[in-house]
């Protein structure tokens, strides 16, 4: 069995079939199915998300101490790094702690993405290929093919093809991603790093806004919903807007 077949068997096909069942249950609305499945995946991956958020919160709480270290050892980089690592160790925080849970979740996101693309079956080839990935459940086969229309959007078309609505979707995706990033990204204690970081925080939402225009709207809907859920959970778990309203000390100079 090839890797692709194994991938579909274990992750891809279950998600695809659940997506189709959801679409059937939710009045044949594929858009609602995407929203529901995004919520379900978020719930299932909640333990990982919580760990990621806690790690992020711990980093946030350490900021005053990190800034003190910056003031103290700002000119001695190796010493600063050494002291920072010591501080992380004492606090029991892994600076990459909020990265690993995200990495573990990537296969799920990939499968979800593929499921959306497969279920939409925008080309005849895709529709035919879909036949071999469905479970022999009546509810699945009766739901096929899915309607790709949702809130005036054709979820199979790129946002660019969708005109004004597509542009709005791109702004929502970019905007929500920026808010989420701002909430979670701890400001750097190094002015140069801070500048790069600010640039990256801006680049990611711009990139995803651009991708929204290039990829089918169904995927953009998933990104938007996923970001909004991310913002909400972040708000309640870390108790507020995180670094969203935080002004970097370097930006004042």
């Amino acid at each position: 069995m090839s890797f692709v077949e194994l991938w579909h068997l274990i992750i891809g096909n279950p998600i695809l079939n659940v997506l189709i069942v959801l679409s059937h249950v939710l009045f044949g609305q594929f858009g609602l199915a995407i929203i529901a499945l995004t919520i379900i995946v978020r719930l299932v991956s909640w333990p990982l998300t919580r760990r990621q958020l806690k790690s992020s919160k711990a980093m946030q709480d350490m900021q005053p101490k990190l800034q003190e270290l910056q003031k103290k050892y700002g000119k001695n980089k190796p010493k600063l790094q050494q002291e920072m690592m010591k501080l992380y160790k004492e606090a029991g925080v892994n600076p990459l702690g909020c990265l690993w849970p995200m990495l573990i979740q990537f296969p799920i996101w990939i499968a979800l993405y593929q499921a959306i693309m497969s279920a939409l079956a925008t080309t005849p080839e895709n529709l035919l290929n879909l036949a071999h990935r469905l479970y022999p459940w009546d509810i699945v086969n009766q739901a096929i093919p899915l309607s790709s229309h949702f809130l005036g959007l054709d979820l199979g078309q790129t946002a660019l093809q969708a005109g004004a609505l597509g542009l709005l979707l791109a702004i929502i995706v970019g905007g929500t991603m920026w808010i989420q990033q701002k909430m979670t990204t701890a400001p750097s204690v190094d002015p140069r790093q801070e500048s790069t970081q600010r640039m990256t925080t801006l680049m990611m939402p711009l990139m995803f806004g651009f991708f929204t225009l290039m990829f089918p709207s169904g995927l953009a809907l998933y990104w938007a919903v996923s970001n909004i859920i991310g913002i909400i959970t972040q708000y309640f778990v870390t108790g507020g807007w995180g670094y969203l309203k935080f002004r970097s000390p370097f930006s004042q100079h």
Partner: protein, 402 residues
């Protein structure tokens, strides 16, 4: 440290996007699976790179080829996702005198003159009767996926805006367009079938419609529980059509009651290919790889035959079976050709009289004439199988360089 983390995240995000959009199992671009037609010893077929190719059937030499690609062809852009080659051809060329009618994935219907194309004149050569028209919105988004139909002076086209269009075949003028027959999916990927003065169309949203060929007005409709995957076929006063719910349906024209559906318990997959009917027997291929022979009156199975690939695994039947005299020809997706002799000793036992493999995947409609079977492979080559002599000629490449 944080910087590294962010850069890693950006790189992972980009890599993931590329991976998921291009990986097998993700969306596949529209490449087309045009069928083959043979007329006056010339083979006409659409290639995978969007050209109509004419080949001399005797010499197997290229007569002419013409690219239907538009100047505004869409590409996949950043994503490898389902943006189509605009000139992808799914329709089978339809020949009428010197004109070849063909539809494209970007919603254009072409009338090509064989002489003008043979001389490589600029298109459209109106003095030769050539034209091209958009159906649908005209924006190029309303794909033509199903074979077109012709009756008298008119061509009938199913379009991805969910409507059927009637075009006058001399100039391509629009005669009528039907109401949207599939509001839910807004696409029609099945062919209209002409029976008397009426067109019959099956839809993804589980309807069969009868439309007046003259006006496009609906005359009758039938509603099922699941969407129809295949184009309808009419035999006597009964419509046979395959469904996504893994059944084949039989419906009497004008009735709102299902005549029968086959099999009792769902088959292994969808009935994607249109069936053929002969002497009261329906022959239908299924995506589970089985060929079924069913009594047309009762829906009772007479026999079934499991087709396979070269490794002995079931291979889906995507292309409709074809009848040639008393022979039933079936080609499965793995490219295995099965010939059943319907008048022979094994006619009622479902045992093939001869099998051969072309060695290429097949999804296109194929045609059979005078002992020869013409098949377009997914490898963009044309295969000719000589059934009488049980031989196969060298494949003919359909690539632009050939």
């Amino acid at each position: 440290m944080k910087n590294t983390k962010i850069i890693v995240l950006v790189v992972i995000s980009l890599f993931t996007l590329l991976l998921v959009s291009c990986a097998p199992g993700s969306a596949q671009s529209a490449g087309g699976w045009s069928g083959v037609t043979v007329h006056n010893n010339i083979i006409y077929v659409g290639s995978r790179d969007g050209r109509v190719v004419a080949i001399n059937a005797s010499t197997e030499n290229l007569e002419w080829s013409y690219s239907l690609a538009s100047a505004t062809a869409l590409t996949g852009g950043l994503s490898c996702s389902p943006t189509a080659v605009s000139a992808a051809i799914y329709t089978t060329p339809m020949v009428d005198g010197d004109l070849i009618y063909i539809g494209t994935y970007d919603g254009r219907v072409f009338a090509l003159n064989t002489s003008a194309r043979g001389k490589n004149l600029n298109f459209p050569r109106k003095t030769y009767g050539e034209w091209v028209v958009f159906v649908g919105t005209g924006a190029g988004n309303d794909a033509i996926v199903a074979d077109m139909a012709m009756k008298g002076d008119f061509i009938f086209v199913s379009c991805s805006d969910g409507r059927v269009y009637s075009l006058e075949k001399t100039f391509g003028d629009l005669i009528w367009r039907s109401e949207v027959l599939d509001e839910k999916h807004k696409k029609l990927w099945t062919s209209p079938v002409i029976h008397g003065d009426t067109l019959y169309v099956s839809t993804f949203d589980a309807h069969i419609y009868a439309l007046s060929a003259e006006t496009g007005e609906p005359e009758w409709s039938f509603k099922s529980e699941a969407g129809f995957a295949s184009s309808p076929v009419i035999y006597g006063d009964t419509i046979f059509v395959g469904s996504f719910d893994r059944h084949l349906y039989a419906v009497k024209i004008g009735s709102d009651v299902l005549e029968w559906r086959f099999p009792e318990k769902p088959a292994g997959n969808w009935f994607w290919a249109s069936p053929v009917v002969d002497e009261g027997i329906v022959y239908t291929g299924c995506l589970d790889g089985k060929l079924y022979a069913i009594e047309a009156d009762t829906g009772k199975e007479i026999w079934s035959y499991q087709t396979e690939d070269q490794n002995g695994r079931p291979s889906p039947i995507v292309s409709s079976p074809v009848l040639m005299d008393n022979l039933l020809i079936v080609v499965n997706e793995s490219g295995t050709v099965y010939v059943f002799d319907l008048a022979g000793e094994l006619a009622n036992e479902g045992v093939p009289w001869w099998t051969a493999s072309i060695g290429a995947s097949v999804r296109s409609p194929f045609c059979a004439q005078e002992g020869l079977v013409y098949i377009r492979g997914e490898d963009n080559q044309l295969y000719i199988v000589d059934i009488d002599n049980r031989q196969m000629s060298q494949p003919i490449p359909l690539t632009a360089e050939s």
